[in-house]
């Protein structure tokens, strides 16, 4: 299995990083997060339509770049570093992955090209965001294909053109395509902690949908793993940003006639943080390589999600604490990354849930 990034992958990172720094500086993030829509359509077109960031992991036949979890991870990491505000994660990562893993070939051909070039904003509607075992408990499909039930939280549903709903039916779970204007569909935006990631409640009352594929238990776990691996990358990008800016701050801020970074209590906290982030980053990159090689520990994505979320929260707490009062202000940017860290910590399974999931798999393997 790969242990380092290839030249092409490093090049991809450079390009993505430059594009995001250019198109999505923190001033733009602040503007977008304050709007109801939650993203800037011009920037969306530039990043997804022109630069292809939504299709990096999608098959070439469907308009994507044909990359794997590693390439998706690279984009996610840079997105997290710059705190990109928009439906990329919902559309490219969540909906894109669900279509690849569960949709029939014909529907993939029909739906993926729009996702890949950003002309379609899609999202994945799951009625449980904690554990794959709970998915399908609240939303069901009737014999006539109509969908009913509620998803308490759905990413970016308020701007989605296409909702991919996982619902339980007579034959198990299915993936259903629903148009944004469908009758019986209610999308109610929610108040959120992290306003760079919009959530809505989605209620379905006899909503007409088209079943695009079955979702077996294995497929659901594959979808979950791929989403978690990408999310871990996004989290690690955020952790890296928090860590670097915090260490830099300690070199510039003076108290007691010396830079605060010369105080050992702060140095040691930063050294421990570096170790925690390095370990989490190694697990995160490893999770993508395992998915791409179809090898390695089956619980690699859970290790990555648990470790990355914990490391990022450590970085976020230190990011506020080591700045003192200024760190607790709205004006300072640190809280934006803190809130994303908190949201991502619990999205798709808390660290504790992932550790339990990993132990279950490990015991199964023994």
């Amino acid at each position: 299995m790969q242990t380092e990034f290839s030249k092409e992958q490093n090049l991809l990172r450079d390009i993505v990083s430059r594009a995001l720094r250019d198109k999505s500086p923190v001033t733009a993030v602040r503007e977008s997060m304050a709007t109801n829509r939650g993203y800037d359509p011009v920037v969306w077109q530039e990043l997804c339509g022109d630069a292809g960031l939504a299709g990096v992991h999608l098959p070439e036949v469907h308009g994507g770049a044909g990359g794997g979890a590693a390439e998706l991870g690279i984009v996610a990491e840079e997105m997290g570093r710059t705190l990109f505000c928009g439906p990329w994660f919902a559309s490219a990562v969540m909906a894109g992955t669900a279509l690849i893993e569960a949709a029939d070939e014909e529907d993939r051909g029909a739906l993926l090209p729009g996702v890949a070039d950003g002309s379609t904003i899609a999202t994945l509607v799951l009625d449980d965001l904690n554990d794959p075992a709970g998915v399908g408990g609240s939303i069901s499909s009737a014999a006539d294909g109509k969908l009913s039930g509620t998803a308490a939280m759905v990413l970016d549903a308020h701007v989605a053109d296409l909702l991919l709903v996982v619902a339980s039916g007579a034959g198990g779970l299915g993936l259903h395509a629903v148009e944004s204007g469908a009758s019986g569909l209610t999308i109610e935006p929610l108040q959120v902690v992290d306003s760079t990631r919009k959530l809505s409640r989605v209620a379905l009352a006899d909503v007409p949908g088209r079943c695009v594929g079955e979702v077996s238990g294995d497929a659901l776990n594959r979808i979950w793993d791929r989403i978690c691996s990408a999310l871990a990358h996004e989290i690690i990008g955020g952790a890296q940003h928090l860590f670097e800016t915090t260490v830099n701050y300690t070199k510039e801020r003076f108290q007691f006639g010396r830079p605060i970074g010369s105080f050992q209590a702060l140095k040691h906290r930063c050294a421990d943080l570096l170790l925690e982030i390095e370990i989490a980053r190694a697990l995160t990159h490893h999770s993508a390589r395992c998915l791409d090689a179809g090898a390695g520990e089956p619980w690699a994505a859970s290790m990555a999600k648990a470790a990355a979320a914990d490391a990022c929260m450590s970085a976020a707490r230190a990011g506020i604490q080591l700045r003192g009062g200024i760190g607790f202000t709205w004006e300072n940017d640190t809280h934006l990354w803190f809130k994303r860290a908190k949201g991502s910590e619990v999205l798709f399974g808390t660290p504790a849930i992932h550790r339990e999931r990993m132990m279950t798999m490990l015991e199964g393997a023994a």
Partner: protein, 414 residues
């Protein structure tokens, strides 16, 4: 060279040369001439310039064939790496061969009662008299010193310059009247380390390494190798089972003496390998709180291994300095060992009060619990690693220092 090529070359060479009826030292000399004793060393010094991965393939073939490898156990590796990096050609000629053949064992004479973390604050005296270096002073915590033939010694040769500049580094013959090693008992009951007294011990001028006053630079080279060693898994060099043949008897005897101080070293790393078997055997694998802690341990352990692989890779590409990367690995080893000790405690519950043959895993778990505290002290404490990481990796500013100017004037332990 590809792994397959290496395999077939080593196999062919062993077919032609490996015999169980040769005396051990004779065999090691053949091994040396064949270039398979230390393949990662440079070609002009018995090696082949192999990477560590390539070297691991060679070791694997030796293990499969039950062929006795070059001598490896103990601080001899620190000696050979230091001499390779900083020694003169004459020193390499004299010292490297007996290290590989096993004729010489070594120890590290760095720490003193008055200076441990602050190694550069050492006060063992080295004075040049009639063309010879005369050494006076005391060292402590010196692993294997009680049976070592030579010691890696740092001593102060100039008291009138700042502390790092007045140190010289010597290759000390331990088998002389002026050197006495006394074993010390550790909290885990073993006696691996010693105190070493030097009273007018003599070092000939050709055994000064790296030049007078340049000892700190050489010492840093030794330390960086030592720290890297903590993060790499120690590869077992013993031969399984009761292999028949005279050479195995000699080899076992060598291992018995050289490896004795290290029997508890796997325990100080926490014995992560025993966690799942023990959790299953005791049934605590079903306990949710224990499962959480086991999972954390596995994440730490797996992640640290992956991170050190990629640090190793970037070191090969020449992008990372050796010392900081070693410090991250060493700190990781401490964190892992502590978590493993915590998990073993959760698994054993009240049984963790017992030690010895009637206790869990034949006393191994008890030994873990009382050996793990060593890993965050030996080879530079965790606090020192954090200082190095924050200053050298993260570029955080150095704090106030009270030890500048001539060493003579600095406050130190009585």
């Amino acid at each position: 060279m590809t792994p397959d090529r290496i395999r077939s070359e080593v196999s062919a060479w062993l077919d032609a040369n490996w015999r169980v009826d040769r005396p051990l030292i004779e065999w090691r000399n053949i091994l040396l001439e064949g270039g398979w004793a230390a393949p990662h060393w440079p070609e002009e010094w018995y090696g082949r310039g192999f990477t560590l991965d390539q070297t691991a393939v060679v070791a694997e073939v030796f293990r499969e064939r039950d062929a006795v490898p070059a001598a490896q156990v103990g601080p001899r590796g620190l000696a050979s790496e230091t001499i390779l990096a900083c020694g003169s050609d004459d020193q390499k000629r004299r010292f490297l061969r007996p290290i590989l053949t096993g004729e010489h064992t070594w120890c590290q004479l760095f720490s003193e009662p008055g200076s441990g973390s602050d190694l550069a604050g050492l006060s063992t005296r080295a004075e040049l008299k009639d063309g010879k270096w005369i050494i006076n002073g005391q060292k402590v915590w010196n692993t294997s010193a009680h049976h070592a033939d030579f010691g890696l010694l740092v001593a102060r040769s100039d008291w009138d310059v700042p502390k790092h500049q007045g140190i010289s580094y010597f290759l000390l013959d331990m088998r002389q009247p002026g050197v006495e090693a006394r074993p010390l008992r550790q909290m885990n009951g073993h006696q691996s380390f010693n105190e070493v007294f030097m009273t007018n011990a003599v070092v000939p001028p050709e055994d000064l390494i790296g030049g007078e006053g340049n000892g700190w630079h050489v010492a840093k080279t030794t330390l960086s190798f030592e720290r890297r060693g903590f993060s790499r898994r120690v590869r077992g060099s013993s031969i399984d089972g009761a292999k028949q043949g005279p050479i195995y008897e000699e080899y076992e005897e060598e291992l018995r003496i050289a490896a004795e101080p290290y029997t508890w070293y796997p325990q100080r790393e926490g014995r992560v390998d025993l966690v799942l078997p023990r959790a299953r055997e005791t049934g605590t694998i079903a306990d949710p709180a224990t499962r959480q802690e086991i999972a954390k341990l596995i994440c730490l352990y797996t992640g640290a291994r992956l991170a050190s692989d990629s640090a190793e890779a970037s070191r090969k590409a020449g992008t990372t300095e050796i010392i900081p990367a070693g410090s991250i690995g060493k700190l990781a080893a401490s964190v892992i060992a502590r978590q493993a000790s915590h998990v073993h405690t959760m698994i054993s519950r009240a049984d963790a009060m017992l030690s010895g043959p009637d206790s869990a895993a034949d006393g191994i778990i008890a030994e873990v619990l009382v050996s793990v505290p060593a890993i965050s002290i030996a080879g530079g404490t965790d606090e020192i690693q954090r200082n190095i990481i924050s200053e050298r990796v993260l570029g955080m500013p150095k704090g106030y220092r009270a030890d500048q100017g001539p060493f003579r004037d600095i406050k130190r332990n009585a």
